[in-house]
């Protein structure tokens, strides 16, 4: 009977034991282990074959193909992939802080100006060409 279950004084709000089977914790960890394994595989393959692409990107492509070929893999990975992707912004912060090492001189200004110049061109050309090419081919109108 749920009402007679003794309340744990340390975790009074913890759910009843029956709702979280011990095997449950293995699933996200299995997914993370698989993602780490694929990253390793990508790194090993790129260095062994002398490919000039980042190992993680090769891993991404391999995983995308595997997800297509092995549908059960989607259940193993969906939860852990969501967790890692939610934390991705946090992971890029140390790399972003490295920007503080750059000297803000005239070269810095020229670099930033080139960025903005290319940005405004890119966004206009991209948006207009997508609109032009995809017009009439969407499955349903917006």
């Amino acid at each position: 009977m749920p009402s007679s279950r003794p309340v744990d004084p340390l975790f009074p709000l913890a759910p009843p034991k029956a709702t979280c089977p011990p095997a449950g914790i293995a699933d996200p960890l299995l997914g993370v282990a698989a993602l780490v394994g694929i990253t390793h595989l990508g790194n090993v393959l790129t260095s062994a074959l002398g490919l000039r692409i980042p190992g993680a990107v090769l891993g991404l492509m391999l995983l995308c193909a595997s997800l297509h070929l092995l549908p059960w893999l989607r259940h193993v990975l969906s939860e852990s992939a969501a967790v890692l992707l939610r934390l991705l912004p946090l992971m890029i912060i140390p790399a972003g802080v490295g920007v503080m090492q750059l000297e803000m001189d005239s070269h810095w200004l020229k670099f930033a100006a080139a960025c903005l110049l290319a940005w405004i061109g890119t966004i206009c050309v991209t948006a207009l060409s997508i609109e032009r090419i995809m017009r009439g081919t969407w499955t349903r109108p917006a």
Binding site: R52, G55, L60, M61, V97, F111, S129
Partner: protein, 232 residues
């Protein structure tokens, strides 16, 4: 195992605490694109490091625990990419070459901007990955052995204007379709563009992340290849 440097935990806490503050600020400012958690935490961390006099090298070492997970997280992007590919169905035949053309076109415009500003060749390789997300850009910079700081700077210099002004620019061009806006935000503004696409609805986010991942994959192939062909 060697005990960590005394400042290890404080420097790791700095990142996590600043990011937590950044998420709160983002919510407080009603998800304004300029208050993106990454930008707020970067400002806080750089200010703290400059004021305390702690060097970047020590900070980088302490936070390897976080940055090394970028590899598996990049691989994890295959899950949303695969989901979008399934959802797009027959449209994929048109979307794939379209995204590819847009990514290559972005690089051509980057080269033109580099020439206008008379920047050296080394900067072109850093700038050419600017429409990809940080993990892709860093991966390609590692392969080409170009400067990671300049590469990340270029990525931020492209992502921030896209998130802040991207939809405004497209509205001036007369583009109203949220799917076109989403895809363009993803292709030109990577993760910042995807964050901005959330206000346009679920479908726009899907197109934006599709554009982001595809552009990242494609340029991670093409730019190191072009670099190899150029530099030998």
């Amino acid at each position: 195992m060697n005990p960590p440097h005394p400042s290890f935990w404080s420097l790791l806490f700095l990142t996590l605490g600043a990011y937590a503050a950044g998420t709160m600020a983002y919510r407080r400012f009603k998800q304004h694109p300029a208050a993106h958690p990454v930008l707020v935490s970067l400002a806080l961390i750089i200010a703290a490091l400059v004021l305390s006099g702690a060097g970047f090298e020590r900070y980088r070492e302490a936070n390897q625990l976080l940055s090394l997970w970028m590899g598996p997280a990049t691989v994890a992007l295959a899950v949303p990419l695969h989901r979008m590919c399934v959802q797009a169905g027959p449209l994929l035949v048109r979307l794939l070459p379209l995204t590819g053309m847009a990514a290559v076109g972005a690089c051509t415009l980057t080269a033109a901007a580099c020439a206008v500003m008379a920047l050296p060749m080394a900067d072109l390789w850093s700038l050419s990955m600017k429409t990809t997300s940080v993990p892709f850009a860093l991966g390609a910079a590692g392969v080409m052995r170009s400067s990671t700081e300049w590469t990340v700077f270029a990525v931020f210099c492209t992502g921030i204007p896209t998130a802040v002004a991207g939809p405004w620019v497209m509205a001036r061009l007369g583009i109203r379709d949220p799917r076109v806006i989403g895809l363009t935000l993803g292709i030109t503004g990577h993760a910042f563009g995807v964050a901005r696409a959330t206000e346009l609805g679920e479908e726009a986010v899907g197109f934006a992340s599709f554009g982001m991942v595809l552009t990242g994959c494609l340029l991670s192939f093409l730019i190191p290849l072009a670099h190899h062909a150029w530099a030998g």
